[in-house]
């Protein structure tokens, strides 16, 4: 165990020097069975090559910042155990479908704009003053949207979505799942404000149901379901008399 080693191949890209990204190989000790890909990257950064760049923060699958391609699959690197890959080498690349800023760091601006566009907060027609008390909810009402609220904005679903890869205008899985989360919330009255974005050509109707978003989600969210449900719901609003109510 003490001298077990594993090869990590990580994408390197310095915009000032490199024309295109390339893979660099590091052989490091695989000293502990609980080591994850992020531990390997941290080992490389601290012991081998301080210039390797990547994002990470919480190490417990809640901040959503350490998403990368691990052997071609989008993963949270804090939750990708080396023991599942060893003795094969582990190829770590930046998330697919996004511009690369540097090494394993992608530009997430596009996602941030889309996230903001669906207004992921509770919208009330009439704000009530703080002193008037809280908006109460039963457990059953929470169950209506609970799984969609588990999204941590890690963007793995965008990296898995070939529709987004082919057309960056697509609103994308996480944004629509979060729109659904708020539209299903008994306290929310913002559906009408979100409709122009989610019911657009580049919204739910761009999705052709590959379903890979739901496969790669590390938090058990089912964005593919959210999108198909939204297709049905927006169609019903359009077709049914009085369907266009709030």
């Amino acid at each position: 165990m003490a001298d077990k080693r594993i090869t990590i191949q990580a994408t390197r890209y310095d915009p000032d020097k490199d024309e295109r990204p390339r893979l660099q190989s590091y052989e490091i000790p695989f000293s502990d069975d609980s080591m994850v890909v992020l531990d390997a990257l941290n080992y490389i950064k601290s012991e081998v090559d301080g210039s390797l760049s990547y994002r990470w923060s919480c190490r417990m699958g809640i901040c959503g910042s350490c998403g990368m391609m691990v052997n071609g699959t989008p993963k949270l690197t804090c939750n990708a155990f080396l023991r599942d890959y060893w003795p094969r080498p582990v190829v770590v690349e930046p998330l697919n479908n996004f511009p690369v800023i540097r090494d394993l760091v992608i530009d997430m601006d596009d996602f941030m704009h889309k996230l903001k566009a669906i207004k992921p907060w509770i919208i009330r027609r009439q704000e009530i003053p703080l002193g008037a008390g809280e908006h109460r909810q039963t457990n059953e009402q929470i169950d209506d949207f609970r799984q969609f609220s588990q999204c941590i904005n890690c963007m793995l679903c965008y990296a898995a979505c070939p529709v987004y890869g082919l057309n960056n205008e697509f609103l994308g899985p996480a944004a629509i799942a979060l729109a659904r989360r708020y539209n299903l919330d008994s306290r929310d009255q913002g559906l009408k404000q979100r409709l122009p974005v989610i019911a657009d050509n580049e919204g739910v109707w761009e999705c052709s149901f590959v379903g890979e978003c739901s496969v790669v989600c590390p938090k058990g969210v089912d964005p593919a379901k959210a999108i198909q449900q939204t297709k049905l719901e927006t169609t019903m609003r359009f077709v049914l008399p009085y369907g266009n109510r709030d």
């Binding site: 890209y13 990204p21 479908n97 511009p99 690369v100 530009d107 070939p162 052709s208 149901f209 379901k225």
Partner: protein, 133 residues
């Protein structure tokens, strides 16, 4: 801030490789599923042609019935069944019904839809056979 500080760093633009659909089993199945609509569309076009010809009157109408067309029709039927199956299974997952404030299990919705589908097929088959006599 000077212009130098504002100049955006050069980013590497990621592009989908042409063989993206071979990289993952789900992508491959998805592309296969998408392509099965081509024979279905061709078959439906042919059906329109047949209907047009049937409109010219029963005397001059003789439907196309070569062995190759029968094989093509059977393959198209398999594809159409596959699409119907995926559609109905999926619909069961996305449709929400509440009975007495409790969500109806999606399995029940899926089963109900398959039952409806079977009933509709029997009715259509019955009508076709009855009027063809």
């Amino acid at each position: 801030m000077t212009n130098e500080a504002q100049a955006a760093p050069r980013e590497y633009r990621w592009r989908m490789p042409a063989n993206w659909w071979t990289r993952n089993r789900h992508y491959f199945l998805y592309v296969v599923r998408e392509f099965t609509v081509v024979p279905i569309a061709l078959w439906l076009l042919w059906l329109l042609v047949e209907i047009k010809r049937a409109g010219d009157g029963p005397a001059r109408y003789s439907p196309h019935g070569s062995a190759a067309f029968v094989v093509f029709s059977v393959i198209t039927l398999v594809f159409a069944l596959y699409h119907s199956y995926t559609f109905l299974s999926l619909a069961g997952v996305i449709i929400h019904f509440k009975v007495l404030d409790r969500p109806l299990p999606s399995r029940l919705i899926v089963l109900a839809q398959f039952a409806l589908w079977a009933v509709a097929s029997v009715v259509v088959g019955f009508v076709l056979i009855w009027f063809a006599r």
